[in-house]
Amino acid sequence: MEKAVLLEISNLTVTVDGREILHSLNLAVNPGETAVIFGPNGGGKTTLLMTIMGFPRYRVTGGSITFKGQDITNMPVDERARLGIGISFQRPPVVRGVKMHDMVLACLRRDDKEAEELVTALAEKSHMTNFLGRNINAGFSGGETKRSEMLQLLAQGPDLALLDEPESGVDLENISLIGQLINEVLGKTHPIRERSRSGLIISHTGHILDYVNARTGYVLCGGQIICDGDPHDMLNTIKAKGYQECVVCLKK
């Protein structure tokens, strides 16, 4: 028997600052599934993730988003987070005066004795121990920002992780660590049968596929999903012929 769909997006139309970016987009994510979204700049990839998370700037003008069987199209960001959606930002804001430690603690949403120990353990795992006392994102390098984002997601433990270009700005040394952390967030350390956590990963370069196993690939172009398939095959085509090929392919 097929498991119930975790996330279902139907005919989603989204405008940002009065401009329509996504046009009647459809997408479904199953429990335990990790999908990678490719696409040219400006195609709407980030808009899609931000809309799923529920940021008010991304205005849904048509269609619906269903998560765990519940219509969340008009649900506020924080309620979606508590329902099990998490996001790692490409360029998160600096929040002066809010310490990394307090942020991780807040993500855990518990304040028992073990919470402190968990913060310490997760920070160690993300190589962020020395950052716990720092203002969040203040003066963080590209790699540090990504590790900080993954650390917060680890603490949050979402059922659906939205990862916006997790490898951008990360040097080679750090990329395998980021890969490991993503696998942990997605519960890939568990056997496939028990796996229930899902992920939607935006990747520009596809580098992350060397570290994270994804079953499904999508191409998002011009505000619509125009192709799906094996992400490795897709990447090879895109590398060889560019996104132009996707557009041509679509016309056939």
Partner: protein, 408 residues
């Protein structure tokens, strides 16, 4: 000597109606002036329990003196308790110091001018008492010295005159808590004169906790000699009717340094006009002023003034303000004046609102809108004070936290 006293009284009388240079006027005739009473020295345990409890939020601990190098308590116009717990540190009433040492009179009204305005004049006419604190040469306070200035009477004027002397190479850390009972209205007038000798260091952390109908007019000046440091940390987060203060640091010796940190929250009905002034008149003199202001419906004027007239002087002034809600105003007035080549002065000021992007970032981690906003405001007020001893920093954060609990 007598001649000098007489002349000072004349000056004070002549200035008794002189309005302050800035800030709202206060009609002192509408309040009761009480004569200054001779100091008593009762045990801290004899100070009313509700007073001991209420001054806790201003960093003053009267039930446990183990973490204090000295304590001074004045209620209305009478010093009530003075004690020292460390050799080389002196804490007494100003009147006692004047009687004990012949030379103390040479410090009286030397940093603050007696005829500055009607408020300084009133303290002189009323022969105000207050605290005298002194660190002998080379002596460093193990724990901070605390002073409690408390107003208990309604419709009364409290007059205070403090003198602080840090002798050569000494280090003096002071916490002053200023507060009042619920009996209002009232006026607090406080003259504080700081003398920081060669290589000495004074940190002065002042936490105000007044009531919605109290008028507050402190007059503070510090004179800093070569390699000396004066650090003022000023906190007001509770309601007050009006507060106006513009403490001045004269960096007179080479490499003298003055730092001012202010944390100001003005709730609806409060008018707070607070600034810092530094006059850099010696080579290498430095100043840094940081103000964090929040208007939660109240009116704030945040002033800053730096004047430099010697080589290698350096000054920076930073004022950041947040206006919460629909009402309230923040007026930042940063001023810098260089009088010759070779000075290095700068300022930055910003008044705005909480960045929505930051609120949403925290919300995406599951915090509610209110939780996110509170976390950002707490962070905004958390000034990382450079050079403040960790214990004093912890005290200050504790006091800020306590005041905050009432706010949000």
């Amino acid at each position: 000597m007598l001649e000098e006293v007489r002349k000072r009284q004349e000056q004070a009388l002549a200035a008794r109606d002189k309005k302050a240079a800035v800030g709202d006027d206060v009609d002192l005739s509408k309040f009761e002036s009480h004569v200054t009473q001779a100091p008593q020295n009762v045990a801290t345990g004899a100070i009313p329990a509700d007073v001991r409890q209420s001054v806790l939020s201003t960093g003053v601990m009267l039930d446990d003196l183990s973490q204090r190098s000295g304590t001074f308590v004045q209620i209305d116009n009478q010093p009530m308790h003075m004690a020292v717990a460390q050799d080389g540190i002196e804490v007494m009433a100003t009147s006692e110091a004047l009687a004990k040492y012949d030379w103390v009179k040479d410090y009286l009204w030397k940093a603050v001018k007696v005829d500055t305005d009607k408020f300084t004049a009133h303290t002189e006419i009323n022969q105000a008492d207050g605290y005298f604190m002194r660190a002998l040469p080379g002596v460093k306070t193990t724990y901070p010295v605390q002073a409690c200035l408390y107003m208990s009477r309604a419709r009364a004027i409290q007059d205070i005159h403090n003198i602080v002397i840090a002798e050569e190479g000494s280090e003096l850390h002071i916490i002053t808590g200023c507060s009042s009972s619920g009996h209002e209205p009232g006026v607090h007038l406080g003259v504080s004169e700081f003398f920081i000798k060669k290589g000495a260091k004074v940190t002065f952390t002042m936490i105000h906790s007044w009531a919605p109908d109290v008028e507050v007019r402190p007059r503070t000046t510090a004179i800093i000699e070569q390699d000396g440091l004066f650090m003022s940390n000023f906190v007001i987060m509770r309601p007050v009717h009006s507060m106006q203060s513009n403490p001045t640091a004269y960096c007179m010796g080479e490499n003298a340094t003055a730092r001012f940190n202010s944390v100001i929250v003005a709730t609806l009905g409060s008018k707070i006009d607070v600034g810092s002034r530094a006059i850099l008149s010696a080579k290498g003199a430095k100043t840094e002023m940081i103000a964090r202001t929040i208007s939660a419906g109240g009116e704030i004027i945040s002033r800053g003034y730096i004047e430099a007239s010697e080589l290698e002087t350096k000054g920076h002034l930073e004022c950041r303000g947040l206006i919460l809600g629909e009402h309230g105003s923040i007026h930042a007035i940063p001023e810098i004046k260089g009088n010759r080549a070779g000075v290095d002065l700068s300022h930055e000021a910003a008044v705005g609102k909480i960045a929505e992007e930051e609120v949403e970032y925290l919300m995406a981690r599951g915090l509610t809108r209110d939780e996110s906003t509170a976390a950002i405001i707490r962070g905004f007020l958390k000034v990382d004070i450079q050079g403040l001893p960790p214990m004093l920093n912890a005290e200050m954060q504790r006091a800020v936290k306590q005041s905050e609990a009432d706010l949000f």
